[in-house]
Symmetry: C2
Subunit: 109 residues, 2 copies
DNA sequence: AAACATGGTTAGCATTTACTTACCAATACC
DNA sequence: GGTATTGGTAAGTAAATGCTAACCATGTTT
């Protein structure tokens, strides 16, 4: 079952978490390596990773005591789909309004 | 200046606000008309609309005492762009890993 | 002008969020 | 076995969030 749309959006709604995803853009990273890039404690990063996990935006792979996190694009699929249809609908609506205005101009009562 | 990515995502990270955007999918709506669809007071809706306004996901048009809200797809452009590149990068990475695994299988040391 | 309609703003509240410090569990290393 | 390393968890806290009730401002209608 995919995470809800608002859960995914909420997970993305924090600059720290966006930066974490940015850090995972290349290869997978250990928690420690991720945390090094931030001016906050490791537990804080751990908690952010939990939120991203719950939103299914990342996944973990344990190797010994190290936990390697990687981003999982699938988690973005739902939001992506919503955004596309919403976008398309909005453009259709704008096109419709433009056409209507054109018609009004052509035949003003 | 466009709203920041996390501001937009945060605005989307609430089911009520997602529903409001859904209600604005068709035509523009007055605040009262929007509020009718929800089991909460009008001020609450007003506050949600403020968040959406700040994220530039909606715009208002005043007509007398009525305020007509409409969704503004432009506000989603930034998030959309981020999502696309992030998505593409992730797919490239997956393809790269698959290729690497294939190579490892072909010539295991 | 008086009464109504519409909707933004304020103050107050309970809950959630983003942290910190302290602690615990599990594996690696000697 | 003892001791680092690595990272998740718990308790506590300050700030932000999502509401409500009360109020105010503006425009409309008669």
């Amino acid at each position: 079952m995919p995470a809800t749309l608002d859960r995914v959006a909420r997970a993305l709604g924090d600059s720290t978490r966006l930066e974490i995803l940015g850090a995972l853009r290349g290869d997978e990273q250990t928690v420690g390596a991720i945390a090094e890039g931030f001016a906050m404690t490791r537990p804080a990063i751990s908690q952010h990773l939990r939120v991203l996990l719950d939103a299914e935006l990342v996944a973990v792979r344990a190797e010994g005591t190290r936990n390697y996190y990687r981003s999982t694009p699938d988690g973005l699929a739902g939001l992506r789909a919503w955004l596309e249809t919403f976008w398309d609908d909005a453009l259709d609506r704008l096109a419709g309004e433009a056409a209507k205005e054109e018609a009004d101009k052509g035949a003003p009562t």
